[in-house]
């Protein structure tokens, strides 16, 4: 009898990729896409450049620290270190470029940040040789690193110091995979800018800083000295950014002199002119505005490697006045504007994320550094933010389909249908971009957190789905929380069944629980314990960064660091938020639903039977597993039984996290984000009560468990909107659509209306993968032909062929919405 189903191939659909009318076409063009030859060439160069590690920054910095550590206050030291890098790093100005500047010595050359985390020789070897997310580095550079860099930083890095400090209870939970800690790998980040850098240059900021230094009250203010050091550092950082730009102007002039092509000669002269003007002064035109942002972007990611790089925020809104003015004056054409923006797009793509250190170097991640361009939305006065620049950006996304920058459209009730439709057309292409956000929900999210209405409207999403007040907030992601794992240890009285080690507290033997409420309250006990463990250490790390690694340059462009005289990491921003990102709502809800219905209410089986079955990874327990899968209400089907559990867990996560004070005068808030962490979290977990096999991915963000939403997208939406999403700082919904659902023109607007409905009901974010299963299998088999197949992960897009098998499988298994 066992043989019956073995004959059947469950996975592979019979149809061919083309038979579904797929919109994805494998790359077959020689030069590749782009609006003109320049963009095609630059794109191809960027696409084909292999990510490499550059040790230049580490060498400059190590040398600097050797000579200067101890001579200055920390903020001044950090600023001088930044200045030193701006002064000494190689300048790259590539052929045909219009927007200039690289963090490394060439495109896709990524520096290291040994002051935070120092890669070991083994790390470097792993990075150089692994198949996915490889970063090349020469043996010579590894040797130099071993000799010059590693010995100096050993034991002194922020990461070393964190791990020295953390309590045993934290370590146990961390090692069990109950949570991750963002700040042990990179500097705290998640930053997006508002419009101030288009109105003020570095010289203006410097003037403000100096005024604040002059006004310091050394008589009465006990913090005056600290403030002076901080502000002095910030002034130095302004000079460093100007110097960095000047060096690009010099290089452009040098190239112009030698250039024989008169057209390129003129371009180089223009580049020099632009770089002499910004970022020292406020930009005067479209070109300068883009270059202004790009220098600030480079400054922040050179100074430190904050998570999610840097974001321009509402870039279309910032550029619109320059665009409109120049179009009216006749000094800029639409094509020229699009070309400059395309150049910018490619620049962002040239900057892969800095690689992690330690054991995680072996795990795959992504090259994506999560810059996210917000398009559309509302302006700070509440009016519609869509402009011609927004449409140009959509065209670029569709034409270039490169990994970075990430991008999102923001659809408020004021956003015109025309913009929504154009955006849906791009979504239909199946590159996973853009994702879709709802300002009508995220603005109240920010208001609830205490922001002014203007600041909230100026805000949006950076990175994946997290919201913040652009240009005025430090909203730090502290790490992911593996909520299903908390249930797993609850079912094992605090022990991690995968390792057999203690990971939580003793909350009782579940076999003795009389009813569901007993079980649930044990789960809550573990949850609160774990969250407190996490917050304690996050606070410690926060303080460490504030004291040891202030971000003086970033502080210049975030309100109110200058007027407070405080660093971005030290409560300088107007708003200071720490998020804990909770993952696996679908898995934990479905598991609780199984326990509630089958163990406690209908007594289909006993707790002991279920625990034995999960322990054996359901081996020999297929009847039990099928009973679970087919006869339990699961989240994502507009079924109140399951959805009530999801809502309860969500509310309890909120209660456990929201409002807990951080050490910067702000507080912790709830976020429902997963990125790719649900795959890692699945790997540290045994089988779960919802029928999920051991080590398989858990559910992402607030999406239903894979394959469990069987009633189509409208039911998923109904389930998700039972959560009061305004209480979060972001929720995440992934939907896979088959291309056949988007064949006709009218289908596109139906997709738009599906989005509108989700948003009218209170949804925060939704994103789509429009690729059919057959295409994904074809891409797995013939990676060469599908080199540029981008698919949507949880919160960002990635190249399918850059993902490991687990991630690929997870994309394939995501319920596809077919044949409605």
């Amino acid at each position: 009898m066992e043989t019956i189903h073995k004959k059947i191939n469950f996975n592979k659909p019979e149809r061919k990729p083309s038979s579904e009318g797929n919109f994805y076409k494998p790359l077959n063009n020689e030069i590749g896409p782009g609006m003109n030859e320049r963009i095609q060439k630059l794109r191809r160069q960027s696409f084909e450049a292999e990510p490499a590690l550059s040790i230049e920054r580490a060498l400059i910095e190590t040398e600097f620290y050797k000579k200067n550590y101890g001579k200055y206050s920390i903020p001044v030291l950090r600023s001088l270190n930044f200045m030193e890098i701006c002064k000494k790093k190689s300048i790259y100005l590539g052929d045909g470029e219009l927007i200039v500047g690289e963090r490394g010595p060439k495109p896709k050359a990524v520096p290291t940040f040994p002051e935070l985390t120092c890669h070991s020789v083994e790390d470097l070897h792993v990075l150089n040789t692994r198949n996915l997310q490889r970063y090349t580095i020469s043996q010579e550079d590894i040797d130099t690193y071993k000799k010059e860099v590693i010995p100096f930083w050993k034991g002194k890095t922020i990461r070393d110091r964190i791990f020295e400090h953390v309590p045993e209870t934290w370590k146990r939970a961390y090692e069990a995979g109950i949570f991750t800690e963002f700040m042990e790998q990179r500097a705290p980040g998640h930053t997006a800018l508002d419009g101030k850098i288009y109105k003020k240059g570095m010289l203006d900021f410097k003037k403000e800083i100096e005024e604040h230094i002059n006004n310091l009250d050394f008589l009465n203010d006990p913090e005056a000295t600290d403030k002076k050091e901080q502000l002095s550092g910030m002034a130095i950082a302004c000079d460093a950014a100007i110097l960095f730009a000047e060096r690009h102007a010099d290089e452009a002039e040098r190239q112009a002199e030698k250039e024989t092509d008169p057209k390129r000669k003129e371009e180089l002269k223009k580049i020099a002119e632009v770089c002499r003007w910004v970022p020292a002064h406020a930009p005067r035109n479209f070109w300068e505005a883009i270059q202004m942002y790009w220098f600030v972007h480079l400054g922040t990611i050179t100074e430190l490697n904050g998570w999610d790089a840097m974001n321009p925020g509402h870039f279309d809104q910032h550029l619109e006045p320059f665009y409109e003015k120049e179009i009216a004056e006749g000094t800029l054409t639409r094509e020229e504007a699009k070309e400059l923006l395309s150049c910018f797009w490619i620049k962002v793509n040239n900057h892969p994320a800095p690689p992690k250190v330690g054991i995680t170097a072996k795990e795959s991640g992504t090259y994506n550094d999560f810059t996210n361009i917000n398009i559309g939305g509302v302006k700070s006065d509440g009016s519609d933010g869509v402009s011609e620049v927004s449409y140009i950006m959509l065209e670029i996304i569709e034409e270039l389909h490169i990994l970075q920058p990430g991008n999102s459209v923001h659809i408020s009730s004021r956003t015109p249908d025309r913009f929504l439709k154009e955006a849906c057309k791009v979504i239909r292409q199946g590159h996973g971009y853009p994702s879709v956000f709802n300002p009508d929900i995220y603005i109240p999210e920010m208001l609830r957190q205490g922001k002014s209405v203007e600041d909230a409207r100026e805000g949006g999403c950076s990175g994946c789905i997290e919201v913040g007040a652009f240009g005025k907030e430090a909203y730090i992601l502290t790490g992911y929380l593996n909520v299903p794992k908390i249930l797993e240890i609850t079912l094992n009285n605090g022990i991690d069944p995968v390792t057999g080690k203690r990971a939580g507290i003793e909350s009782g033997d579940p076999r003795t629980f009389k009813n569901f409420e007993q079980l649930y309250s044990a789960f809550l006990k573990q949850l609160n314990y774990i969250i407190d463990q996490k917050i304690k250490v996050s606070n410690y790390i926060d303080r460490m960064f504030a004291k040891e690694s202030p971000a003086t340059f970033l502080s210049v462009v975030i309100d109110d660091c200058i007027s407070k005289g405080k660093d971005y990491y030290n409560g300088g921003p107007r708003y200071n938020t720490n998020y804990i990102q909770c993952t696996g709502l679908g898995t934990v809800t479905d598991s609780l639903s199984v326990l509630k219905k089958h163990v406690f209410e209908e007594m289909t089986f006993r707790m002991d039977d279920l625990l034995h079955a999960t322990e054996k990874n359901f081996k020999g327990e297929e009847i039990l597993r099928q009973t679970i899968i087919n006869n339990t209400p699961f989240y994502g089907n507009d079924d109140d039984y399951a959805d009530a559990i999801a809502l309860r867990v969500y509310d309890d996560l909120f209660d456990a996290i929201d409002g807990k004070p951080n050490i910067k005068g702000g507080s912790y808030h709830l976020n429902m984000l997963s990125t790719t962490c649900h795959v890692y979290f699945g790997k540290v977990m045994g089988a779960s009560p919802n029928g999920r096999f051991a080590f398989k991915s858990i559910s992402d963000g607030t999406s239903p468990s894979h394959g469990c939403d069987i009633n189509g997208p409208s039911s998923v939406i109904k389930s998700l909107t039972k959560l009061d999403q305004v209480k979060s700082g972001g929720t995440l919904l992934n939907q896979r659509f088959l291309p056949s659902l988007l064949k006709r023109d009218e289908d596109i607007m139906k997709l738009g209306k599906l989005i509108r409905t989700y948003f009218a009901l209170g949804g925060h974010h939704i994103q789509f993968n429009i690729v059919d299963t057959a295409t994904l299998y074809a891409a797995q088999e013939n990676p060469e032909e599908y080199k540029d197949l981008l698919v949507r992960m949880a919160g960002y897009s990635d190249y399918f062929n850059d993902m490991n098998k687990d991630l690929q499988q997870e994309v394939i298994e995501r319920t596809e919405n077919e044949s409605f």
Partner: protein
């Protein structure tokens, strides 16, 4: 008055059965039996069951629990002896893997309205509503009218997808509570119509002619099947019939044949009933669109 009816499926985010985002209710039972029917499970007005071999895990709870000993394990999975099976549904109830599923459910009006109301937000945003398909919804006219009236009270847009093979007064009564009809013009030649669908099209055409005198919207559909209804003669006859109708009835959707029914027949245990047809080639479909156009009729694929 009968308060409940047989429904075999309810589809949400239905985008092919009228304007906007819709919910489509599929009634069980049809008085035609088109050989190409892609919903063969809709034809019988009785409860049926489906068996999906790929879902079967060999738990054999169905065999153990069948009161009529109608089930047998074979190398192809579980096989039902339909001579003894009385469709009691116990096999579906005890199957942990949902390899057996019963088709057809009596749903009281209130219960169905609850399901429909749950989707109202999607109708509101998209200008969508509820579609009634089948099977033949007009076979359940009393029930259908109650539902249509309840939907009308809530301002939901209503579509009835019908063969128009019904009593004329029934059709006209339903039309009072319907915004849009989707009606098949399967094949114009009556002999062929009888051969392939089991009924004459005379009544159907008379009904359509009457319906066209009202101000209800009608979109026609033609399931395009090679060698059955894709000839110039049939297309011209179809176009001429449409042009003979009152009001402006100029829209027809072309639905090229696809063979989804094959798998469904297998699951229903009636593989012998599956007859393979073919869709016309793409360029032929293009020619058909052009031909309709010459008669002032807007034809497009899909819908």
């Amino acid at each position: 008055m009968k308060q409940q009816s047989l429904i075999f499926d309810i589809k949400k985010y239905a985008i092919n059965d009228g304007p906007g985002i819709r919910l489509t209710v599929f009634f069980k039972g049809c008085n035609l039996s088109c050989e190409w029917c892609h919903n063969p499970e809709s034809i019988s007005p009785k409860v049926q069951k489906m068996y999906t071999a790929s879902k079967c895990i060999g738990a054999v709870k169905c065999i153990e629990n069948c009161p009529n000993d109608a089930l047998k394990m074979t190398s192809e999975g579980i096989v039902t002896d339909y001579n003894v099976c009385n469709f009691c549904g116990i096999c579906a109830e005890v199957c942990p893997a949902k390899a057996f599923e019963m088709l057809g459910k009596f749903m009281p009006v209130e219960e169905l309205m609850k399901v429909i109301d749950n989707e109202a937000a999607f109708f509101d945003q998209s200008g969508g509503g509820v579609s009634f398909s089948g099977g033949e919804p007009l076979m359940h006219a009393d029930y259908l009218l109650q539902i249509l009236k309840a939907c009308g009270k809530r301002y939901y847009h209503r579509v009835v997808d019908t063969t128009a093979f019904a009593k004329t007064e029934t059709l006209l009564e339903v039309a009072k509570h319907t915004e849009l009809f989707l009606i098949d013009l399967k094949v114009m030649d009556d002999k062929k119509h009888k051969r392939y669908t089991g009924v004459s099209n005379k009544k159907i055409h008379k009904n359509i002619t009457e319906l066209a005198k009202t101000d209800v919207e009608i979109i026609f559909r033609i399931p395009l099947i090679k060698g059955v209804n894709d000839s110039n003669d049939n297309i011209i006859a179809t176009a001429e019939f449409m042009n003979s109708l009152d009001g402006s009835r100029k829209v027809i959707n072309l639905l090229p044949y696809h063979k989804v029914a094959e798998n469904k027949h297998k699951k229903l245990g009636t593989p012998e009933n599956f007859i393979l047809f073919e869709a016309p080639e793409e360029n032929r479909i293009e020619e058909i669109i052009q031909l309709f156009d010459q008669y002032g009729i807007k034809a497009s694929v899909g819908g």
